[in-house]
């Protein structure tokens, strides 16, 4: 009996040691999980986290694509070539802007948008030319504007507001929209500076509507922006550009397309966005840059948002809380699968889970315009699976 009691004590000690070992193993894996979680949410371009690259690939491959060029929107760029005979390029020559506005107005545009910042004076005569052209325009006009979202001191808001008032803003014919895009910022690493969304309205900013929303309203469209995430249009199937894109020098003075009839054909009835296309400003990475590092002028991004509004398209992404919930649920599910290790087919289970997630991501993106957090799910599913598999308590 004594021997049996002794053995029982030893067994109990061994049992306790195993429990301790199991708890330590669990704690270890939990700590690893927490570390990865913190890293993935703070060092890999968060809050969208590590799935940025997969979301961008999905966007660049599965976004909407028209058969031919969009017939509703035209882009007119002021470029370095437009200003080559002038001694300065910033602010953009307002005499030229006045001519482009007048040309688009006379062509019968549906609405004209000026994607420029008007926060300082240029040559008085040219400022007056632009004011006169805006005042005389018969079609609805939208002017790009800045507000408190700009860093203090970076723009002369008083000059901008005076300018807007001087040209008759606000009125039924003249409106303004903010020019801000949304880039993910992270206090721990440098932002990737990719434009994926329109800046949200925080309640204190002076301009609630974005430039593209103001354009849509000015043109009489009742549609509203359904998601701040930009729903991109890929270049059409027929090889043309997404939007009719002209350089200003071709439509003013003695430009190739400056004849009234030609301009009416090209710009009549369209939303005409006039913007700058310069190497040194307002060029942005977008998810469409993923395969070629191309930068896109801000005006073309506004055109994308306008097309999104007119088409009624939207792209949805899970919010931060939803992401955390998805990550937790997938990790727990992976852990459960890993512990179960169905018939020891651990690798088969991992492959199956990866394929399932990939198919789910593709289908949801394509059909529901939902950017499924593929990498996040894959990442956390794998961590759960591995933790479940190697953290199993083998004592019986």
């Amino acid at each position: 009996m004594k021997t049996s009691g002794f053995h029982e004590k030893l067994r109990w000690r061994y049992y306790k040691r195993e429990i301790l070992r199991r708890d330590l193993a669990s704690s270890f894996w939990a700590a690893i999980g927490i570390v990865f979680f913190v890293l993935s949410y703070n060092l890999v371009h968060t809050p969208d986290g590590p799935q940025h690259w997969s979301a961008d690939w999905i966007t660049s491959l599965l976004s909407a694509r028209h058969q031919s060029q969009d017939k509703r929107i035209a882009l007119v760029y002021i470029t370095s070539a437009t200003l080559q005979s002038l001694p300065y390029t910033e602010p953009v020559d307002r005499g030229i802007l006045a001519k482009v506005v007048t040309a688009a107005d006379q062509a019968g545009a549906k609405a004209i948008g000026l994607d420029f910042v008007f926060d300082r004076a240029s040559e008085p005569a040219k400022d007056a030319m632009l004011s006169a052209a805006i005042g005389k325009a018969r079609v609805p006009l939208v002017i790009g504007a800045l507000d408190a979202r700009s860093p203090p001191g970076s723009a002369n808001m008083n000059w901008q507001n005076d300018f807007l008032r001087s040209v008759g803003y606000p009125s039924s014919r003249l409106s303004a929209g903010h020019l801000y895009f949304d880039e993910r910022r992270n206090p721990y690493i440098i932002s990737d500076h990719v434009v994926r969304a329109i800046a949200p309205y925080d309640g204190s900013a002076a301009y609630r509507l974005s430039f593209a929303e103001a354009m849509a309203r000015a043109g009489g469209s009742p549609a509203a922006l359904k998601s701040s995430q930009i729903s991109w249009l890929l270049p059409p199937n027929d090889g043309t550009e997404t939007f009719l894109t002209l350089s200003a020098q071709n439509i003013i003075d003695r430009g190739l397309l400056a004849q009234a009839d030609t301009l009416k054909t090209l710009l009549g009835g369209r939303y005409v966005i006039i913007g700058g296309n310069f190497d040194d400003r307002d060029q942005h990475f977008t998810p469409l840059s993923i395969s070629n590092d191309a930068r896109y002028p801000g005006a073309s991004i506004h055109a994308q948002v306008l097309a999104q509004i007119l088409d009624g398209r939207a792209t949805y992404v899970p919010g931060r809380l939803a992401e955390i919930a998805i990550a937790a649920a997938v990790a727990v599910f992976g852990f459960w699968i890993g512990r179960k290790e169905i018939a020891n087919r651990y690798h088969r289970a991992a492959e199956f889970a990866a394929a399932l997630v990939l198919i789910l991501a593709t289908v949801l993106s394509f059909l529901a315009h939902f950017l499924f957090p593929f990498t996040l799910v894959f990442f956390w599913g794998m961590i759960g699976l591995v933790a479940g598999h190697y953290g199993r308590w083998k004592y019986t």
Partner: protein
Amino acid sequence: MYRHLQTLVVMTVASIGLIGAARADMVVLESTVSGFKAGDHVEADSIGSLPPGTYIKVIDQATNSTRTFRGPAAADIPFGAVRGLKRKPND
């Protein structure tokens, strides 16, 4: 028989003419390629492959749409050649 042949020949010539007219309806707006200048009427086939880093922007007057033909991406810019980080001559 002769009438059928005549009709066939007329239709063929007219079709070729129409197709040719439609194909030549592209006007060069901008070009960085020698041999193509703004105002030239071109066909897509005549543009062929372009040198690296060049482009020709055209307007298709039949459909009122613009398109840009681009050569392959230019060779990688060596580090330091980015604007604002120009190398000094002795670097």
